[in-house]
Structures are given as structure tokens and as C-alpha cells.
């Protein structure tokens, strides 16, 4: 069983995101890039499969800011190999283009199951799992909360709205978009990450493609207008607490 985990870097949403001069992309110069949280869930699910039934795990990612850190961390957590796909311009890579790059690399690989995050915060032209699967002409499922391999198939649980779960069996090879792993992503000890970095071993493979392929033409990227913005309560924590209690009291939600 060979499991590929497709991971990616993304602007940290906790940071302030500014729009660049083109008005159609974020200013990438000063933002911090972090690993996509749903890809981390995909990696965790792969590690659980490996622990339960044995598998070789290959983490793969496009070359994006600080991606080495993410890939070495994947190795530190238990991935057997990590591959960085180089050759694309830096910038806002469309999901269709990202899928094409991964698909072209997969063309020379032997693989059984590909796991990736259900979404990423800048997915304008759709989510990776379905697009990649359609390009590869293999089955797929998204919003997956459990994946367990059984011979040449994988048993998955997909989450529909409101917490309803549907269970299916999917023939391999298949692509899954992971929403949540069966357990919260594990931490990699810093010493192990350092070890992975020191032994090097990130493979590189080159891919080609246009950044914006398959994406609707963005003509404006902008922060939402603050029309419905909250009235801000300021002052010390004690002042703010008093105001909140007052608001709740006015609604009859605080006695006395």
C-alpha cells in the first residue's frame, strides 16, 4: 500500500492579509506561510492507516514558501518520503493547476491512495480532491472523517450536513479529501524535525503549468466592507465585562 499525501502552504489567516498592487492577489511578501490545517488531518489519517495495516507514506507539495518545514515535519511524524514539486511560478496557484502538477508527477509513480485536505482557504476554483480525481479518472470522496484500507479498497465515512455520516467502500486507486482524521493531528518532537532536516532527503521533481489555469478571472480581491461591523467595546477587561453583563441583563438573560 502506497499512500500519497498532497500537502500545501497557505497564508496564515491569523495574520493581517493585504491585497497587492494588482488588486487581485494577496501581498505575499510579508505574510507568514503555514501548512494547510486540513492537509495535516490528511497526513494524520495516513499515519493511522500505516500504523493499523502498514503502508508507505509519501508527502508531496508544490514548492511554496516554507514548504520544506512542512515536508520535514511530515517525515518526523512518520512519512517515509517527501517530494517537492518545483518549476511553477510563485503566486496564487489555481486548484486546477495544482491538480495538474500533482497528476503529472503521479504519472510516473506507483500509488494506491491519495489523501489531501478537504479544502484550503484560497480555493476559488474548487477543491483539490475532486479535481485531481477527475483528471486521473479515479473515484473520489470529500468531507471524509475516516478512511480505513481493506485489501484493494478503502472504507470511508463522509460527513453530510448536520453531522449525518455516510459510509462507503471505494475501490483503489482513489483520492480522498479529508475533513477530520480519526484523531487530532499528532505533534512532531522538534528534535525529530531537526533530525529529518539534517539528514536532508527531500526529493525534488519538476512540473510545469500556468498559475491561473482553470480559475475564473479574478478582477478584484478585497476585504469585506465593514457595513455590518460590530460596535466595539473598549476599556479594561473589567469595563468590557460590565458592558457585556449590561447587554445580557437588558435581554433578561442575567438575573438580578
Amino acid at each position: 500500500m502506497r499512500i500519497v499525501v498532497a500537502m500545501r502552504q497557505l497564508a496564515d489567516l491569523v495574520e493581517e492579509l493585504e491585497v497587492d498592487d494588482s488588486g487581485t492577489d494577496i501581498d505575499r511578501e510579508f505574510v507568514k506561510f503555514v501548512s494547510n490545517e486540513w492537509d495535516e488531518a490528511a497526513l494524520e489519517e495516513a499515519l493511522l492507516i500505516k500504523e493499523q495495516s502498514g503502508a508507505e507514506i509519501v508527502a508531496v507539495a508544490l514548492d511554496e514558501p516554507d514548504v520544506d518545514q512542512t515536508l520535514y515535519t511530515a517525515i518526523a511524524k512518520g512519512a517515509d518520503k517527501a517530494v517537492k514539486l518545483t518549476g511553477l511560478e510563485e503566486g496564487w496557484v489555481s486548484t486546477h493547476s495544482r491538480a495538474k502538477a500533482i497528476a503529472s508527477w503521479l504519472g510516473d509513480q506507483q500509488w494506491d491512495l491519495l489523501l489531501t485536505g478537504v479544502q484550503a482557504a484560497d480555493d476559488l476554483d474548487g477543491q483539490l480532491a475532486g479535481i485531481l480525481a477527475a483528471q486521473l479518472q479515479v473515484p473520489h470522496a470529500a468531507v471524509v472523517v475516516s478512511a480505513q484500507t481493506e485489501g484493494s479498497s478503502v472504507k470511508v465515512s463522509q460527513e453530510l450536513g448536520g453531522g449525518t455520516i455516510v459510509e462507503e467502500t471505494i475501490a483503489l486507486p482513489a483520492v480522498l479529501g479529508i475533513q477530520t482524521a480519526r484523531q487530532a493531528p499528532r505533534y512532531a518532537p522538534i528534535t525529530r524535525i531537526r533530525q529529518a532536516m539534517q539528514s536532508g532527503g527531500l526529493e525534488e521533481a519538476s512540473v510545469a503549468g500556468d498559475l491561473a489555469e482553470g480559475r475564473p478571472t479574478v478582477r478584484r480581491l478585497y476585504p469585506p466592507e465593514k457595513t455590518g461591523h460590530a460596535e466595539m467595546l473598549t476599556g479594561s477587561a473589567s469595563d468590557v465585562a460590565d458592558k457585556i453583563i449590561e447587554l445580557l441583563r437588558a435581554k433578561g438573560l442575567v438575573k438580578s
Binding site: A11, L13, V14, L17, T24, A41, D122, D123, L124, D125, G126, Q127, L128, A129, G130, A134, P139, H140, A141, A142, V143, S157, Q158, L160, G161, G162, G163, T164, I165, V166, E167, E168, T169, A174, G177, Q183, A184, G214, R215, P216, T217, V218, R219, R220, L221, Y222, P223, P224, K226, G228, H229, A230, M232, T234, V240, L247, L248, K251, G252, L253
Partner: protein, 318 residues
């Protein structure tokens, strides 16, 4: 150029979700401007078709392969129908349906796709979609190029009333397209409804990833106890296993409408807002002044939750 707009109906437990009517209202608006028809695709059995009076046409695909959720079977049949009808636009929700099928359909039908859409309009013959990206921090306005497009929209973005008007649509029964048969349905499991019921509470204290660790939950639990309200949470808190699933607010959790919703350390991602934006009074604490939660909250504060929550608990405990 094609001028019809098709909506994929979403049903759960036999009922159509609001999203179906929201999208149908939009479909009518755009199709009529283009001089085409607003259609609804009804997958599986045809029960409930009477609720779709606002449509010009309802395409039914009543086939056993579609009676249970199955992405492969559904996509095969949808592609078959799309090739037959060739609409200008296909509309779905950014629900599991849209997240699961949208991308694959865009490849197979060779159409551009815009997801997380909160605004959709026609400019001349161009389809303009506004998507909510970066956890709600930025909007992207984009033109769907080409002769066909797919849009997956966030629930609550368009008025549902526009899709609930009466009428007598033409019913067109179509047949399913066979798939490769690689996905086999197993079972469907309804969510656990036991435990704390957050949907009937007048007041909710809700906590998000800003709380940092499971140990810190005690702080907000004390506040909830002082207020006599249940504790609810954003999805990451549930995924960590820190609180049970029935206490999750949002798209994949519970939809709540309390008299007051008090949130601490929740950023306000669209999936969270879907579950609580209709609360009568929303008061949010988040140290990031640009957190999207402040766009739906009535009152907000950037005071640190670790300073604010103990103050509140203490004052209320007196």
C-alpha cells in the same frame, strides 16, 4: 449561447434545505435575464417535487443508483444530464455536495468553477461571482470565462423566498447514466442527539481555538455555569475531542438561534457563521480586530479572552 440555469436540489431526511430555494431564486433571476429557463435537478426519488413550483422545469433522475449518497453515481448522472441540457450555469451549495462533486464536474464538463460564492450576477452576458475566501477575510470578484460555468454557493447568501413561489413546472423524467461502479454505498448514520441540547438554549457561551488548550476550557465552563447556559464550540474544539459533537455550532454541527450568543476565540469562518448568524444578539471576543466574526457580531471586543472571561465569571458569580 446557452441560457438555462440548473440547480442541484439538496435533500436531507426528505426535506429540501433552504439552499435549494436560495439557488432557485438566483437561477430564476439569471435565467430570465438570459432568456432561458430555471431548472432543478432532483436526484433519486421524486418525493417533494411539489415544493419546486418556482422552477420552470424539474429534471428528475429517479434511479436506485441515486437513492443513497454516492458521489460517483451522482456525478455520472449529472454529467449525462449536463451534456443533454447544456445549461449556461449549474448551481450547487458549498455543502458536502458542492465540495464533493463540484471540482470533478468542472473537469468532466469542462466548465470553470467558482466556490464559496456569496454574490452572483450577470453583467451583459458575463457571469460574475463573488467568493468568500481566506476564512472570510477577503472577497474575490471573478468572471467565469467560457460558455458554461459551475457555482457552489455558501448557504444563507441569497433570499430563499425568491425560490419558494408557486407554479407548475414542466417535469422531465430522465434516466441515470451508468458509472464505473467503484463506489459502493454502505450505511447512513444519523448524528447522536443525546447530551446537551444547544439548539433550545436562550443563551450560549461559545468557544473556539483561541482557548488554546483543553485545560483552559474550565475557564469558559465556569462562565457558562455562572450564566446557567450550555457551552458550545467551533469545529476545531470538537475535532480535538475536547467537547462532544452535539455541542458544535455551524454548517456541519448545529444551527442555533439563541437570544444571545457569546463567543470567545472564534474567528468567524463562513462554516461557523452558517450556524449562528441569526442569533438575536451576538457578542464576540477576539484579539484580532480583523476577525470576520466582527462582521456579523453586534458587539465585539479585542480584549484578551483570558482577561475577559475570568472578569465576567467573577462579576456574575457575586
Amino acid at each position: 449561447m446557452a441560457s438555462d440555469v440548473l440547480v442541484v436540489a439538496e435533500r436531507s431526511g426528505g426535506q429540501f434545505g433552504d439552499i435549494t430555494f436560495e439557488l432557485l431564486g438566483k437561477a430564476k433571476e439569471i435565467a430570465s435575464a438570459l432568456g432561458g429557463k430555471a431548472g432543478v435537478v432532483l436526484l433519486g426519488d421524486t418525493s417533494g417535487v411539489d415544493a419546486l413550483g418556482a422552477a420552470d422545469v424539474v429534471y428528475t433522475i429517479d434511479d436506485p443508483s441515486l437513492s443513497n449518497y454516492n458521489p460517483e453515481a451522482t456525478e455520472a448522472s449529472l454529467i449525462g444530464l449536463l451534456r443533454q441540457v447544456e445549461p449556461r450555469l449549474l448551481l450547487m451549495g458549498t455543502s458536502t455536495y458542492g465540495l464533493d462533486w463540484g471540482g470533478a464536474l468542472s473537469v468532466a464538463w469542462d466548465a470553470q468553477l467558482a466556490s464559496y460564492v456569496v454574490g452572483l450576477s450577470l453583467e451583459g452576458s458575463d457571469i460574475i461571482a463573488t467568493s468568500q475566501l481566506y476564512g472570510g477575510k477577503l472577497f474575490a470578484e471573478a468572471v467565469l470565462d467560457g460558455e458554461r460555468g459551475i457555482v457552489t454557493a455558501i448557504g444563507g447568501s441569497f433570499p430563499a423566498e425568491a425560490g419558494r413561489t408557486g407554479g407548475s413546472p414542466e417535469i422531465v423524467a430522465t434516466s441515470a447514466t451508468a458509472s464505473a461502479g467503484k463506489v459502493t454505498f454502505g450505511a447512513i448514520k444519523e448524528p447522536d442527539k443525546s447530551g446537551v441540547d444547544i439548539t433550545s438554549a436562550d443563551l450560549l457561551v461559545s468557544v473556539g481555538r483561541g482557548i488554546g488548550s483543553q485545560d483552559n476550557l474550565e475557564l469558559v465552563q465556569e462562565l457558562a455555569d455562572a450564566l446557567g447556559s450550555p457551552l458550545s464550540a467551533s469545529r476545531p474544539i470538537i475535532d480535538q475531542g475536547w467537547l462532544p459533537k452535539p455541542q458544535q455550532v455551524g454548517k456541519s454541527g448545529q444551527k442555533v438561534k439563541p437570544k444571545a450568543y457569546l463567543s470567545f476565540g472564534i474567528s468567524g469562518a463562513p462554516e461557523h457563521l452558517e450556524g449562528m448568524r441569526n442569533a438575536d444578539l451576538i457578542i464576540s471576543c477576539n484579539t484580532d480586530e480583523n476577525a470576520p466574526i466582527f462582521d456579523v457580531a453586534h458587539y465585539g471586543t479585542t480584549v484578551d479572552l483570558f482577561d475577559l472571561v475570568p472578569e465576567l465569571a467573577e462579576k456574575l458569580g457575586q
